[in-house]
Symmetry: C2
Subunit: 462 residues, 2 copies
């Protein structure tokens, strides 16, 4: 193979050290918050049996699932007749495994397979890649990470309150201050459908109002009429576009609209309970002041499996879709034969968070995973004399390395620059005689003659 031909598959990426450091910065913050709230890690296999995945993501989703060819002579029992049936019927005969398409279905499969030993409520997080054969475009990849946390086995609305708190804490730790956590309840959308005289039409209603941010109110209403809603019905929607911005006032208004629609009242009551839990949690503290909760009766979220509260998080300073979202579902495991397991979960979009932090310049200057000090290599003798210092630095838990060859100092300095190593240590025969080593700050260029103990002290305080 000629070197010019070496490529990776379209829509996939290598993550080199610089990008990994930034991605790990995000993952570490998310994991630490998940764990602080009692969530535990789960990993499922990359491949699932095909029948676990098919039929879960709709016709379009099914087409995007990557199938894995069976091992060995998979054509053994294949005839030319099979070939003529077309690829859709042919595929299951030669491929019985497929790559994970999301983390939700494998999680449901895991819960069902382990229901005898799991202790409910089961709080798990899962951070793994998924694969979709979509056409790649800016911000859309064929391999990308999902980052989910779910609680299953309890209807308690405390879980919804905790999700808000977790989102808030992750944003805070990422130093993202200008964001909104939009929330709504699927029952409010269902009640809206009833209120406008289209009971049971909430799915069609949701699909259109979900586009409000993108296409605006007029086009949403026009689309609803195309979908068969009458003008009287879309007119009746008007009050829901002009609810007060304050959640408590909006709830009061909805309670009037829904006075004869129990489902709607229940939706509002659940949201009020969640806010009450948040109030208890944050009393005597400033946390509530910083909670950027934003009720929107017109937030719909596409996925049809949500049945209760739904969330979506937007960063206001940048033009980008939501960076997090989720909601409550009442029948996640039903398709695997285990009905009535209620759960609530949410997910962070790591690629989007990455782009947001990059755009706003919010990644820390140096990564905690970087080498902190490079020992320069002048010659074999100095390298030998440097090694005990290197050992002591590492014993003090300072990430450090000796340049492995006695090449020109300039080359060693440019190595330190490229690896973003903040300090360089010069250990020549003079330095060793005097018991002081020269520490150079790569950012300022300053040099100081210090004992090893002083150097360790200084690097540790960073």
């Amino acid at each position: 193979m000629s070197k010019t031909q070496v490529t990776i598959p379209k829509g996939t990426r290598d993550f080199g050290p610089e990008i990994m450091a930034k991605r790990n910065y995000i993952f570490d913050i998310i994991k630490s918050v998940f764990q602080k709230f009692g969530f535990q890690p789960l990993e499922t296999p990359t491949m699932e049996n095909l029948e676990v995945l098919t039929g879960k993501y709709g016709e379009e989703g099914d087409q995007l699932i990557y199938r894995v060819l069976n091992s060995g002579d998979y054509l053994k029992n294949i005839t030319t007749e099979h070939l003529q049936e077309g690829f859709k019927k042919f595929t299951p005969k030669i491929a019985d495994k497929a790559l994970r398409y999301d983390l939700t279905v494998p999680f449901a499969r895991y819960v069902v397979m382990n229901k005898g030993t799991l202790h409910f409520p089961f709080k798990r997080y899962q951070i793994q890649p998924v694969w979709r054969g979509d056409s790649p475009q800016k911000g859309r990849y064929r391999e990308f990470y999902q980052c989910d946390a779910d609680v299953v086995g309890t209807p308690s609305l405390l879980c919804e309150a905790e999700i808000v708190l977790m989102i808030n804490e992750v944003m805070d730790k990422l130093r993202l201050s200008d964001f909104s956590i939009k929330f709504n309840h699927r029952k409010i959308i269902a009640a809206m459908a009833t209120a406008i005289g289209a009971p049971g039409q909430e799915a069609a209603l949701a699909v259109s109002i979900d586009k409000l941010d993108k296409i605006g109110k007029e086009k949403v209403l026009a689309e609803l009429q195309q979908r068969g809603f009458s003008e009287t019905q879309t007119q009746a929607l008007q009050p829901f576009f002009t609810l007060p911005a304050d959640a408590a006032l909006a709830f009061d208004s909805l309670k009037q609209h829904f006075s004869h629609i129990p489902e709607g009242l229940q939706g509002v009551a659940e949201l009020e309970e969640i806010i009450a839990w948040l109030g208890s949690y944050t009393q005597y503290s400033d946390v509530m002041k910083n909670l950027r909760l934003d009720f929107s009766a017109l937030l719909a979220r596409g996925l049809s499996y949500y049945t209760g509260t739904i969330f979506e998080v937007k960063i206001n300073q940048v033009q980008m879709g939501s960076v997090s979202g989720g909601g409550r579902y009442d029948n996640l495991t039903g398709s695997f034969g285990l009905p009535d397991v209620s759960g609530v979960g949410f997910s962070f979009g790591v690629d989007r968070l990455y782009d947001v932090l990059e755009e706003l310049g919010l990644f820390p200057e140096t990564s905690a995973q970087h080498t902190q000090v490079l020992l320069c290599n002048f010659d074999t003798n100095s390298a030998q004399q440097s090694l005990p210092f290197l050992r002591q630095l590492r014993e003090a838990n300072i990430k450090s390395e000796l340049y492995p060859e006695p090449v020109k100092l300039k080359k060693q300095m440019s190595y330190a620059d490229a690896k973003k190593i903040p300090y360089v240590l010069l250990i020549g025969s003079e330095e060793i005689k005097q018991g002081k080593l020269t520490l150079k700050n790569m950012a300022t260029g300053e040099q100081a003659a210090l004992t090893l103990a002083e150097i360790i002290e200084q690097l540790r305080s960073k």
Copy 2:
């Protein structure tokens, strides 16, 4: 689908919270050591273009690579004639991508694709799953993690010395004390072939002597004769079976055997240099005393791409293959059109390390990732009053959760047990009135009435 049918593909595994905590314990130790020595993370895509992988792992390896079906109508240009050519010729027509088989080939591909921007020496580590369509058996899976660290772009033997130090530190942190780091040099094996009158036959020699531990000396010699070595030649091998255990004495003996074989002398000299570097690093310290280096002229390691020093790590207390291994190679990237890139690398077998730690009972009792305290939920009122305490515990960075429903206390306790949560906090109306909360130690059953500040103090000191 009926629930009884839900399964995962043969040879793959779910990692639930308990197993994940133990695996992360191992990964975290390995990562921290890699980083302390200046290695940086890399991740490559799960799928590689088929031509990157084929021809790299031998005929047998090629058969074990998982192929991924092309998206869309992959049968569009397929005729019945293609079908009759058999699956080996058919596969590339319908599958142009495949799952990563190891981390070495994708790393070489990455180095070649990025050679213009990478700064050499490039030190990377990579911890990702790989897939092989092997028949599953005890300890052998179709999806498993590899855990590699490599330095490329320098011939410096300091890198070999650092690999020994890294292995030593990982074993030490895992509290594995009874292990050996066996080492040898490919040039010593080549020189042995020359010395017995079979120059150039080192590959055949290596394949047989690699089995010494498994089948014993007599069978190795018999196998060599089957492979075409004469009895005179296998007789001439005898001295190499009885080299002194002490490395320095063994080296002296080899220098006599190889007095007219420059290649052999070079191999010995390189090992001596590595030991000298280790001596410099560990002078004035106890590290060298604990280094379990074990020279063996008969260590071969199967992989043919090694050209210099080779390593292998065995745990002496358990019956198991090596848990780590590696070596220097001089032409990793040659097949991608970039010759003469020397590198040295090694790998940990995480599944084997897991089994060793399990067998020896060396996993820590509780994981740092577990919830440290569960707040019991008596009723809505007590839950509301507990929430500010929960917030303060989390603000003090203590992993904590409130049971989400006011169910029977026994059920909450068994939840704490199942999740290995070491403390339970009882907050009833009495407790709140008196300003003292009841902290129960789940291991001892002891209860104490403490203020929140005292509780935070106690949990932090754990």
